[in-house]
């Protein structure tokens, strides 16, 4: 598979699920991340629902690893900034004029838990779903083919553009361009480095457009699809159930059933 998507192939029921079903899971995880009241509820949802789901797809380790590295910098910033600067009474320790409070630290860690659940839910979808299949599922629900083309193509060509940016840097250095210079002179480097990338790519757009036309992209007919997606009545019931659960969470939040 492509290095530029984080999908991991694995023969599991989770992988086999219709992408819309997994997308629904993700949406509700996102809703839950901001509707649930406290760190305990958030972590419990992560551990009791998200973790088993990931494990069933053989994705537990990759998910935990990615989620950890994504959330860690947030958690550090949140602990420090909220801990020191959010209102609270219970002082833990002081650093100069600033005091870390238990309440501040708690609110920071609650936010970190929200992000953990939200990012974990997003990662679950991406690790278990080929992007083209997700796009196909959305196309079948009316997403224009053109949007799917843009996303999938960009996803596959950008590594090549990164490579090209490196080549341009090499080419200009070989022409005597010094890059280890002061800030202002480094800003001046941007033109010889960015202009070839942009110009060269725009020049190629014409050829890419012709190549796409040659593949009958503008042919007016009902398009067919080579890859197919599994779906079932059971899955659509499941989707409805998860969505209902999401709506309930929002309702409970909005009605103040849970304390803020």
């Amino acid at each position: 598979m492509q290095a530029q998507s984080i999908y991991i192939d694995h023969p599991s029921a989770l992988h086999q699920l219709n992408p819309l079903t997994k997308l629904t899971f993700t949406l509700v995880f996102l809703v839950a991340a901001f509707a649930l009241p406290n760190a305990v509820a958030l972590i419990a949802t992560f551990v009791l629902i998200l973790v088993p789901l990931a494990a069933s797809g053989g994705l537990l380790l990759p998910l935990l690893r990615s989620a950890f590295w994504l959330v860690l910098p947030f958690a550090i910033s949140l602990a420090l900034i909220q801990g020191f600067f959010s209102p609270g009474q219970t002082a833990l320790f002081s650093l100069g004029p600033f005091t870390m409070t238990l309440e501040g630290l708690g609110s920071g860690l609650t936010f970190a838990a929200r992000l953990l659940l939200a990012l974990g839910g997003t990662l679950l979808l991406m690790l278990s779903t080929r992007p083209d299949k997700l796009m196909l599922a959305l196309r079948q629900r009316g997403l224009p083919e053109s949007l799917s083309y843009i996303v999938l193509t960009a996803l596959q060509i950008f590594p090549r553009f990164q490579e090209r940016a490196r080549t341009i840097l090499d080419a200009q250095k070989s022409r005597g361009l010094e890059t280890e210079v002061g800030l202002l002179r480094r800003l001046a480097l941007l033109v010889p480095l960015i202009a070839p990338l942009v110009l060269g790519s725009i020049v190629e757009v014409e050829e890419r457009a012709m190549a796409l036309e040659a593949r009958a992209f503008s042919y007016k007919t009902i398009k067919t699809s080579w890859i197919s997606l599994e779906d079932s009545r059971a899955q659509s019931i499941l989707r409805a159930a998860i969505l209902f659960f999401g709506v309930v969470l929002v309702y409970l939040r909005l009605t103040g059933f849970w304390p803020q």
Binding site: M1, Q2, R130, D132, S148, Y149, L152, T153, A154, L155, Q156, I157, P159, R160, E204, E207, R208, A209, M210, A211, L212, E213, A214, R215, A216, F217, S218, Y219, K220, T221, I222, K223, T224, S225, W226, I227, S228
Partner: protein
């Protein structure tokens, strides 16, 4: 059959015609090589033969280019792809990127044409076999070598079953191995009955496979006929296209009075061997 009828064309910002008063016919099933110096009009010829002029490039066109008696200019652009395919020199630009494996990439054009799945399967398999890519069918086209990518482009076109396949310098970015792979694949498509129009510089390969050669200079056809004859002409050198070294040594030997003047100059290795023996 493709027919140019007194066809001229000028690009929007250009000062001169890129093609002027072209009249010629390319019969169905022919493998036609288009040669000429850079700037002689080869690419423009390719765009005109595939309908991109006037549908994609604006500018000024006179006369007409017809496919099976119908002017391309009057055809609906979106549906032309079903009849004429085109392959360019840079393989990277031709992979749509909208699909993830070679097999799916070939399917992309068929999906757009609305071909149903069973039929797709047959066509893709055949295309993979003809260009010899069965082994990499499930790989990402972006992981392949240039020669393989170019064959993906050929297979993608071939699966769409166009009458005519136009190729604009399809091997100029490739290494010798890639060039050989691609020429063999093109020859296989030609065997399968596709009309081939190929613009390029690699005379040794063209001489081996082409049925006919058209020599362009400054937008005009200055020679048209059997590749062996055209490629050996002195004019080739005069207009900047050059000849194979087989031809060059034979011509030099002849000039030095070593060999009979009336013998036809060789273009390929086999011909040169016979010439000198």
């Amino acid at each position: 059959m493709i027919e140019f009828r007194d066809f001229s064309y000028r690009y929007p910002t250009a000062a001169a015609d890129s093609l002027s008063s072209l009249s010629l016919q390319i019969p169905r099933g022919q493998f036609c090589a288009v040669v000429g110096a850079n700037g002689a009009g080869k690419s423009t010829f390719c765009f005109a033969a595939s309908g991109f002029i006037p549908h994609f490039f604006r500018g000024e066109a006179h006369g007409s280019v017809e496919l099976a008696g119908k002017p391309l200019a009057e055809a609906e652009f979106g549906s032309l792809a079903a009849e004429v395919g085109i392959v360019f020199q840079n393989p990277f630009n031709q992979i749509s990127g909208a699909r993830f494996t070679v097999r799916e990439e070939i399917a992309f054009g068929l999906e757009n044409l609305g071909v149903e799945r069973g039929e797709m399967q047959t066509r893709i398999q055949l295309a993979l076999e003809v260009v010899d890519l069965v082994d990499v069918a499930e790989r990402s086209p972006f992981e392949l070598s240039g020669g393989q990518q170019q064959r993906v482009a050929l297979a993608s076109m071939f699966a769409m079953r166009p009458q005519v396949l136009v190729l604009d310098e399809p091997t100029s970015q490739l290494d010798p191995r890639g060039t050989r792979e691609v020429f063999r694949a093109i020859a296989a498509l030609s065997e399968a009955g596709t009309t081939i129009i190929l613009a390029g510089h690699k005379l040794e390969w063209l001489a081996e496979f082409a049925d006919r050669a058209i020599l362009l200079d400054q937008g005009r056809v200055i020679a048209d006929g059997d590749p062996d004859t055209i490629f050996a002409m002195e004019t080739m050198g005069e207009v900047g296209v050059g000849r194979t070294q087989f031809t060059d040594v034979a011509a030099a030997a002849q000039r030095a009075g070593m060999l009979k003047d009336h013998a036809a100059l060789p273009v390929t290795l086999a011909q040169a061997e016979a010439f000198f023996s």
